[in-house]
Symmetry: C2
Subunit: 463 residues, 2 copies
């Protein structure tokens, strides 16, 4: 094969390289599996990115998945396992033959192996660990010694470092002499004699600088050191806030022990977002591929909490049974007041929870934000009070009923702004994740206040 | 100054470099501003990261902000503007003296300038564009020629490329001869003679390979080319899905025109997440620093939609006024059925919206997911039906009322699972953002079905 051939081949590979999992791909793969056509299956799946293969495996049924893996397992890429959703991953690992699993895992970087096995039980972990070479196993075991969700778990242990007094020329020569460099690295980290990191030099800067320039003269302006015990959420926040590409990780003695790169941080950030959005809706850590029974169990506690709060609201209604019996219009209109309050409260709540997560809502501006949300609630409350007043009047022909529902609307929407902001702030102060618990509290407040204000005023004014 | 002094100075700078905005920092800055102490203010703010200064400016009041900028404006960093929330940014730009603004903007990379001015009106844009040097202005204007939210707007135009047939040695020599290289770059992009990108070589790989190795032999396995007209959301998805660090951008003729790096993609991803979470709660694009009147306007349409759906539910109740007058317990219990359905529906909905955003829920698995959610709804429905049946019996002493509420609960929670999944999928098919509109539809369905099933069954069985 001459150069031109090789180049053409590269180009073809590159053209295949624009990935995207289409519905037609999934159908084609499922058809190949049904027909048991191993050759066609390989032809279809080999150009796919492991992340897309993982998505494909998540989208097909359990039976199809089992057949596919039996047909395809000789060439199973370890990265597919890394990309798979946890529940499907366990299933796939159980199906893979031990030697295929061992091959797949040996291909992975040590930080990916950690990510893969940290949620497994000890027996499963041992199966994977035994498949690794000694040096890799030690690296994985050392990472597992750090607490879950810590920077120590997230980091890779291979670091490219240089003494702080080196020149560009010395660093380049050193790098070019190395037999193996890490797969992914973007910085040379400068360390002092006690291995404390003191600055980062980007590879681009190194390339573009004269040989006699000192490394510390071209360190990046932005430099963030991460303690190994730091929570991964804070690590992801730092990457996002300061636009980091990689950051050195240090132990308690401030010695360099590893490095975290942006791709790891991005995964954590994505998980944190998912957690926030699901928790706000009262869904635990669920995913589409969880089994029905697990999903049912995850959602049940939140529904139970909601049942208790709904009953609390009903107890308020029960206090006004006499009024409702006399004026049945109250029963017709009361859910509107509660529903509008609940919606307004959820709006304030979501903005507040998101602002707490991005550290935009803090002790410094809490009171200003609460004042603002109450004001927004008041203005929108007045707007909808006028509308509902008119609706009440037209529908039931009673001006007094119109006044009552209007007043209740204003009260409930002001309370919604207050509760929607104050409750997550208070939960955060007590160290409770505001996304997790605020929703139930806020809608309880708006339901109880809504029914009480409307029915209470009605009882006072109309009876 | 000798070497050791310089090194010590570097180390001190690095120690300052562990950023974090604390409440005490905000208080200290506000105090310095109150006292008009320019020296102290500079001392406090100079070590801060621009992203933290932006957060600080967002957290203090308008009056404090104005005073602070007047005291600090001689040293105003352009990056602070990039990091500021839009509403505050406009305010700050209006306060800054023209020459300070010009200095600040000139420091920025052209893609950051694009991000800064793309939402401004033409007059404001011209002020900024006039401050730029000619070459930068042309680059910014070319980027602005691409549609909003396109890859063309996101990319930087400075690309490091090499002919596909070069060796490692040739590439290194070429890079070392350049006077200026881009601030941030991670790959050398290989191009064919028509400037079509055919592969990426990481700088690390370049450093670690022998001089006579051909570049195409060490290209990255994962290679994704991005069309300049692609939507930025799809770009961010590709970076997240395929763990890209940088990717070449091409025009319609597949010629290389720019490069997008992961930090830009991460910002887009963060914005998309924010949009999803806020839209699910019926909040537009709001932020804490928006003015009250803007926030009120943003939230009003969603509350209006909710009012219409709440009235629709009330109309259902109104059909059963006679039943409620006879058995007032129906009015007490009916919100429970609706509320549980609404909660279960929101759970299914949130999982579905999130799964659509991450492309985990597609045409391929839609029916399986719907079946699964309906089953989850059924199981949880039965559980809460039993509980509520007992509650109904104990509270009101009527077994028949217990059966009715139990049956209504099962019906509504099954419908919740169905509507919560099917509605976002259908909206997505019609090209409507499911996060934006699903909530109102789903709760309308669960309210209407909840009230109708409970009151209808009650009217049939109990009267």
């Amino acid at each position: 094969m001459n150069d031109t051939d090789l180049i053409n081949e590269t180009r073809n590979e590159a053209e295949e390289g624009s990935y995207k999992l289409e519905r037609s791909d999934v159908t084609a793969v499922v058809n190949a599996v049904e027909r048991g056509d191993q050759g066609l299956l390989s032809m279809l799946m080999d150009p796919m990115h492991p992340a897309d293969i993982a998505d494909l495996l998540e989208q097909i049924s359990t039976v199809e998945r089992r057949k596919l893996i039996h047909l395809y397992d000789r060439e199973f890429d370890g990265e597919i396992l890394s990309e798979l959703d946890e529940s499907i991953r366990d299933e796939v690992i159980a199906i893979l033959r031990p030697e295929v699993l061992a091959d797949a895992v040996r291909e992975l970087e040590s930080d990916d192996v950690v990510d893969l096995i940290e949620d497994m039980n000890v027996t499963q972990q041992d199966v994977i660990l035994d498949a690794l070479e000694d040096s890799d196993r030690v690296a994985v075991e050392q990472s597992l010694a750090y607490p879950e969700n810590s920077a120590g778990r997230l980091m890779q242990r291979e670091v490219v470092m240089a003494p702080e007094h080196w020149t560009v020329g010395q660093a380049i020569d050193y790098l070019r002499e190395q037999d193996t460099l890490p797969e992914q690295f973007y910085h040379v980290t400068l360390v002092d004699p006690r291995l404390k990191p003191v600055g980062n030099v980007t590879l681009g800067k190194l390339m573009g600088s004269k040989r006699d320039v000192l490394l510390w003269e071209i360190t990046e302006a932005v430099f963030q050191v991460i303690p190994a015990m730091q929570n991964e959420g804070d690590v992801a926040y730092a990457f996002n806030q300061y636009h980091l590409i990689s950051a050195p990780v240090v132990d308690e003695d401030e010695r360099l022990v590893g490095v975290i790169t942006i791709d790891d941080a991005m995964i954590v950030l994505d998980e944190e977002h998912e957690e926030d959005i699901l928790r706000l809706a009262g869904v635990g850590e669920g995913s589409l591929s969880d089994r029905v029974i697990n999903t049912t169990k995850q959602r049940l506690p939140w529904l139970a909490v909601n049942l208790v709060t709904a009953i609390a609201a009903s107890l308020v209604i029960a206090q006004f049974e006499a009024a409702i019996t006399q004026i049945v219009a109250l029963a017709v209109l009361m859910p509107i007041v509660a529903s509008m309050g609940g919606n307004a409260g959820t709006q304030s709540l979501t903005v507040a929870v998101r602002a707490i997560a991005t550290k935009d809502l803090t002790g410094s501006n809490m009171w200003r934000v609460i004042r603002r949300e109450v004001l927004v609630g008041l203005i929108n409350g007045v707007v909808f009070a006028v509308i509902m007043g008119i609706v009440g009047l037209v529908w039931f022909g009673s001006p007094a009923l119109g006044y009552v529902i209007a007043a209740a609307m204003v009260i409930n929407m002001v309370v919604a702004g207050l509760a929607g902001t104050a409750i997550p702030v208070i939960l955060e102060k007590f160290g409770i994740d505001p996304a997790l618990a605020s929703g139930a509290f806020v809608t309880t407040v708006t339901d109880v206040v809504g029914f009480f204000a409307f029915l209470g005023l009605a009882a006072l004014v109309l009876l």
